[in-house]
Symmetry: C2
DNA sequence: ATTGAAACATACAAGAG
DNA sequence: CTCTTGTATGTTTCAAT
């Protein structure tokens, strides 16, 4: 980890810290990304033009990575969710990359965590029922040669924190 | 679990299945919730007014739960994320509810999974550094009387699946 | 359900205080 | 940062199909 040998020249985002208003904007847009600039400006106590500028800066600077609609999985007929903990035989780069890609290629996968700990991956999946879950795990996970251990936990509830980054 | 004693009368969402166009709308809005209605209509091959109606229906019917901005945690100075697996002493309703609420009250918590398996909860947290992580866990999790076991996994990467519900 | 067009609102850019 | 002006763009309603 030599500072003279930077492996990744990352965009460095924002050297200047985000002020109180920026944070208020981020909190508001996390809760409702479809707020009009007008409403947003009123909430954070700014003129519309200033607010508009700030939002543009936050998006352009990569502070805001995107805007996403949250869809109820039950509406898509997949009311059963699970977290599948996976341990690989060896944590080589090739194994990690190929497993990760395979998981993201699954329509049933909602999110993939690559972690350091007892397991290597946690894959959040949504399926119709337990039959589909079993089938998915056997077909798409257990069957992979790099996988040596799988442990499944049904998800009762998945709550997101509304105001992340508030104070 | 008597069917004559339903604990929750849930909205029942949509009895009618979502058609191909609805799904296309959902996929598009998951990837970019800030698509203009105009662009969205063009993508799914509908007139603006029809598309607008459908989106309204999907939101009103609870199929779309909300629109959220995704914020880069590094921009907020919290570049270290972890998944904290927690086991409770007893899985009573009181213990589960109070632990859940306590976790969601933490600004460091991004998401809380209540699961069935070896553990009872998985809490996704974002902190500045490992010192803050240790402090958070000791102060807000381990210290709780209902908690009997905690296991922390650092998150190397958290990838979201773009087109959930595609086919 | 879907449509096109009118009526309304907003976003966005640029310049001045 | 705020205010303003201006224009382009987008949203929303509605009668008709």
């Amino acid at each position: 980890m030599d500072s003279q040998n930077p492996k990744k020249i990352r965009p460095l985002l924002e050297p200047e810290a985000l002020d109180r208003i920026d944070r208020a904007i981020l909190v508001a847009l996390q809760q409702n990304a479809r707020l009009t600039n007008k409403e947003l400006a009123a909430r954070v106590g700014l003129a519309e033009s200033s607010c508009h500028e700030r939002v543009k800066r936050l998006v352009a600077g990569g502070v805001v990575r995107g805007f996403h609609a949250e869809v109820d999985p039950r509406a898509l007929g997949v009311g059963l969710q699970a977290l599948v903990a996976v341990r690989l035989a060896r944590q080589t780069n090739a194994a990690v990359v190929s497993f990760r890609q395979a998981m993201l290629a699954l329509n049933e996968a909602i999110a993939v965590f690559h972690v350091a700990g007892a397991n290597d991956f946690l894959v959040q999946v949504a399926v119709r029922d337990s039959d589909e879950l079993r089938d998915l795990i056997l077909r798409a996970i257990t069957a992979r040669p790099e996988v040596v251990h799988v442990e499944t936990s049904l998800i009762y509830e998945h709550a997101r924190n509304a105001g992340f980054g508030a104070p």
